[in-house]
């Protein structure tokens, strides 16, 4: 668990943390769950502090990143539900997505289109524009500083792009990945053609 903390924090407090864990174990002072919960809460904070201290980063474009994340959330939830639902279906149970959410989206095609295509495109565009704007605004920054400061926005933009491609290519992508995995890039063009019709 200590390994999950940033290096600077670990270097300074590793011995103290180990000593404290030992003390707590001797006293039976806290449950493992308390320590895990504390680590979950404190590790991200230490990384935020680490970026502030070492790279002097002030995170930018956070509103765009948050708006993008909110737009991607319904898609992510849908996929998160669909995957185990498909497993249930394979095990012989009724697919809850087909009888629930799938039915809603099936009968409201517009809603499905918005969630699965337009929301990710909107997330991509919002962050793309925000990044272009930030690029003009912060011209004095190095590439590394720019990427670090806008990391959330960049991640959401990439996810938005990936999610937007997911629906039209969701059958082709596994076929393509499997083809590359098995044969490398030797038969790249035939593979593209084969997977296009998958």
């Amino acid at each position: 668990m200590i390994a999950a903390y940033p290096a600077s924090y670990r270097k300074h407090f590793k011995e103290s943390l180990l000593q404290t864990f030992d003390d707590m174990r001797e006293d039976a002072a806290a449950s493992d769950w308390f320590i895990i919960r504390d680590a979950i809460a404190s590790i991200p904070m230490q990384y935020v502090n680490y970026f502030h201290e070492t790279m002097k980063i002030k995170f930018k474009n956070l509103p765009a990143a948050i708006a993008g994340a909110a737009l991607l959330l319904p898609f992510a939830l849908l996929v998160a539900i669909a995957a185990p639902a498909q497993l249930l279906y394979k095990l012989g149970y009724a697919n809850p997505v087909n009888v629930g959410i799938g039915q809603i989206i099936g009968t409201h095609v517009g809603l499905g289109t918005v969630i699965l295509i337009f929301f990710p495109i909107a997330a991509f565009l919002i962050n793309f524009v925000a990044l272009i704007w930030a690029g003009f605004r912060d011209r004095e920054l190095t590439v590394k500083q720019f990427v670090a400061g806008n990391v959330f926005s960049i991640v959401i933009m990439i996810l938005g792009f990936g999610f937007a491609l997911f629906l039209p290519f969701h059958d082709a992508i596994p076929c393509f990945v499997q083809g590359i995995w098995q044969n490398g890039f030797n038969n790249f063009l035939p593979l593209m053609n084969a997977c296009r019709n998958a």
Binding site: S16, L17, Q19, T20, D38
Partner: protein, 120 residues
């Protein structure tokens, strides 16, 4: 413009209770954790990750400093700096002022005022 520092700014509950725990004596990490829990009557229970994160920030703000153990233990002890003592003193004075104000106004009257504000 007057720069805000922890010495004249409001302290977070974690920072306040750590300063309070160190006000009587130097303590090591686990000792601070226990004292904070006692002083806050269990309301602030911080784990090791949070504690050392707070101590790191407080050392950057020069509120506390590390001291080597006098008994030759491997533990690191922490103590208040002058700035830390001032910050704690300021916060305690603020609390004392609030208590004095509550006594003067009468607690019932204050609670009634709060109820009026909550419901308006």
């Amino acid at each position: 413009m007057k720069q805000k520092t922890p010495a004249n700014d409001l302290l977070t509950p974690a920072v306040f209770y750590i300063l309070l725990a160190l006000s009587a004596q130097e303590r090591h990490g686990y000792d601070i954790m226990k004292q904070v829990k006692t002083d806050s009557a269990g309301a602030v229970a911080m784990g090791p990750g949070t504690l050392y994160g707070s101590l790191k920030r407080m050392m950057n703000d020069e509120l506390v400093e590390e001291v080597a153990s006098k008994t030759g233990e491997r533990r690191i002890y922490y103590r208040l700096t002058i700035k830390g003592k001032k910050a704690l003193g300021g916060e305690l004075r603020r609390f004392a002022g609030a208590v004095k104000f509550a006594k003067e106004k009468g607690l019932k009257q204050l609670l009634a005022l709060r109820w009026t504000l909550d419901t308006s």
